[in-house]
Symmetry: C2
Subunit: 226 residues, 2 copies
DNA sequence: ATAATACTTGAACATGCGTTCGATGTCAAG
DNA sequence: CTTGACATCGAACGCATGTTCAAGTATTAT
């Protein structure tokens, strides 16, 4: 029988358990029992589940209320069953370069200070959230995209896009960042402002076009007293 | 010993149990046991708790997974510990009248179809959410408020506002609804569009000005494939 | 090889916790 | 007063569930 040795961080079994707990919690609105974890992760003995749970607790991935039935919960990024915590990687403004995104890396953090919580119901059901990030709009340069100073733009990392999607791009030509609707045409790309009264930008296909991500959502918090 | 007879709807004991479940869930991230409910609600017997729980289940206030430890959850508005479900009361467009709001009534619903879930962390911590509602913007009439067709506007019911707050008002004079920044001046109200290039509307204080609510948040979901 | 560590098993145990039931108390209607 | 619906209690029952342990198997290091 094969064994899964953890080289660094979590073994795949740890990960599977963690995922299962989250999925179960989301589905049933209460945590799973040790035995349920075992059954769904191919572990026949409750003690083995307990064994892994202990490790996950030591490494800080879960918390447990000992002696309490189903008294366990995942901590950190995916702590909530109903929201995703999306990290705010930085500002976005016409003159500012867009933050560098390492592919394959989750930008997730559990730091509430630099993140926005987004209800899962507002995103596609299958969205895992690992390649989501957010930018805070600075200045008025995005008004043509109907986006205001202070708005939070939630994006999904991408290097290409389909027609009609709104993308964040770095225009090397003009040395600026912008949010535009993306259209691929015969031999060029058309970047269309959301505001229909404004003219599109055309980029030849041989020019560099750095798509950083697709806009998924825009959130504007309005100041309200009382 | 006094008894609490339920005349209509929930008795105070039902309410107390309901509140306790929610509070407990928010605090511990897992539901309470029957005995814990009893201890914290001044009920000495588990069967009595079970008795009330059965009623709450029949009336649809909670759901139970029988035989499963701590397998209970509140349904409806406050189902989630991390999000608030805000009902979408209807469309908002220049030509359409704004929906009537009964003061003191919670517009909350558990119907997911006509509601948006908003992360509690995006709202003031004390926000209970009882006078929140949302409107779906139809058409381009709100572009001067940087609000697009299809956007969801989350609002808080109000009949008056402070300077600088964005309000939804019904302009009886022009027979239309609009979203504007509100300023009270000497003998008039100034309704300022978000777009600085557009001119404000002035309303004399003796003219009717129907403020329906303050804008708390704007949510724009952008179409993204894949 | 050998030892040490990591992983797995199955079973037994103790108790947390939902369920059920008979008895009792309270109140309104007949 | 009697009756019946509602509310409360306490205790017992039994399964669900976390805990523990002794022993076995794999993987890596020495």
């Amino acid at each position: 029988m094969m064994m899964v040795r953890k080289s660094k961080g979590l073994g795949e079994r740890h990960q599977k358990i963690l995922d299962f707990i989250q999925e179960y919690q989301r589905k049933h609105k209460h945590p799973p029992s040790i035995r349920e974890i075992g059954e769904n992760c191919g572990i026949s003995s409750t003690s083995v589940v307990n064994y892994y749970l202990d490790q996950l607790e030591k490494t800080g991935h879960i918390e447990r209320d000992r002696k309490i039935s189903r008294g366990l919960r995942v901590t950190g990024v995916n702590a909530s069953a109903d929201t995703l915590r999306v990290p705010i990687l930085g500002p976005i403004a016409a003159g500012l370069p867009l933050p560098e995104l390492q592919p394959g890396v989750s930008y997730m953090t559990d730091n509430e200070a630099n993140a926005v919580d987004v209800a899962r119901s507002l995103l596609p059901p299958k969205e895992k959230g690992n390649d989501l990030f957010a930018l805070e709009v600075k200045g008025d340069s995005m008004i043509d995209a109907m986006i205001n100073d202070g708005d939070i733009v939630v994006m999904k990392r991408a290097v290409e896009a389909r027609n009609g999607e709104m993308v964040a791009v770095w225009l090397a030509r003009d040395n600026e960042a912008t949010l535009k609707y993306f259209f691929k045409e015969r031999d060029r790309y058309r970047l269309q402002p959301a505001n229909p009264t404004m003219k599109p930008i055309y980029i030849n296909k041989d020019e560099p076009l750095e798509i950083k991500g697709k806009v998924v959502m825009v959130i504007r918090k309005v100041e309200v007293m009382s």
